[in-house]
Symmetry: C2
Subunit: 152 residues, 2 copies
DNA sequence: CACTTAAATTTGTACCAACAAATATTGTAT
DNA sequence: ATACAATATTTGTTGGTACAAATTTAAGTG
């Protein structure tokens, strides 16, 4: 669907505006598709991301700052996301012996099992959403995105 | 910044994954920049969007369904966004005479004045964020986004 | 008119984000 | 050792999102 149609605009927008609006609409679309999958497993996107980060630790624990560093959206409340995961027994938390300010977070066996269930669906959806773009187009798209964040 | 670096991934990701993650990171970036501007005027993004939609009505009122239709993210709670704007006296609400189920929302003079103040800053930021892409690249970028939403 | 269905909005709940302030622990300087 | 700064996490508050259920009013049917 065209952007003007999507937001039901009655004026003709400049291309750079349309591109930015399309970026927001499309990321919303991607988020919605991902949410729909995760929801069937009782997970939210940030919860899933925390689990993936912990899995990436390969047995090593992570403290909250580390998790926060690796999140796509650097938000401030990893504590409360982890709380939810602990309720579901997907992760566990213990105070770091060396530095009692730090909290070590582990993924549990339950957590691993849930990830293994979710991942095939997740990756299928990722492939589907990018299936209309060939390698060259993906590369272009990637570079264009980088140019928007040029002043980051 | 590269995507792997951004999420501190230690594995090499496939291009289609990197592109999708970059999409989410970049839309987050755009949202953050926009929020930063609106915040100095005491507005949130959805509040600003509702104001813009009402301005686009050119004197005509809008009901809640209309506003919702034109929002970038079609969320369910226009009522509460409008409540915030009424508190700030940027919009007013009155029950439609013809159909008392419908609520007519108007932008106030205050609302217009605030929009006139915000818009130059907003448009400057839009131009800045797209300044590294020429017209042809913007067109490509726009088309690539559409291809991701192909199954919409 | 009574009854049912549909439309438009409101309300409730659970979760997340942004921000600021509070708390707890460690490190450092004198 | 005491005071102070830095680090890591937690907590409180406001605003937003998604979803479902409730409410209100309008419209249609016998």
């Amino acid at each position: 669907m065209d952007v003007e149609n999507h937001i039901k605009s009655n004026q003709t927008l400049k291309l750079h505006k349309k591109a930015l609006i399309n970026l927001l609409i499309t990321s919303q679309y991607v988020n919605d598709r991902i949410n729909a999958i995760l929801k069937t497993f009782g997970l939210t996107t940030p919860q899933f991301n925390v689990l993936r980060i912990l899995k990436g630790q390969k047995g090593q624990p992570a403290n909250l700052s580390t998790i926060q560093d690796r999140m796509i959206s650097k938000m401030s409340n990893t504590t409360r996301i982890v709380d939810k995961l602990i309720e579901k027994e997907l992760v566990s938390r213990q105070i770091c012996k060396d530095n009692r300010r730090k909290i070590e977070i582990f993924i549990t066996d339950n957590g691993h099992q849930l990830l293994d269930q979710v991942n095939p669906h997740f990756e299928k959806e990722e492939r589907l959403m990018t299936s209309q773009l060939n390698e060259n187009e993906l590369k272009e798209f990637y570079n264009h995105l980088n140019k928007i964040r040029i002043n980051e």
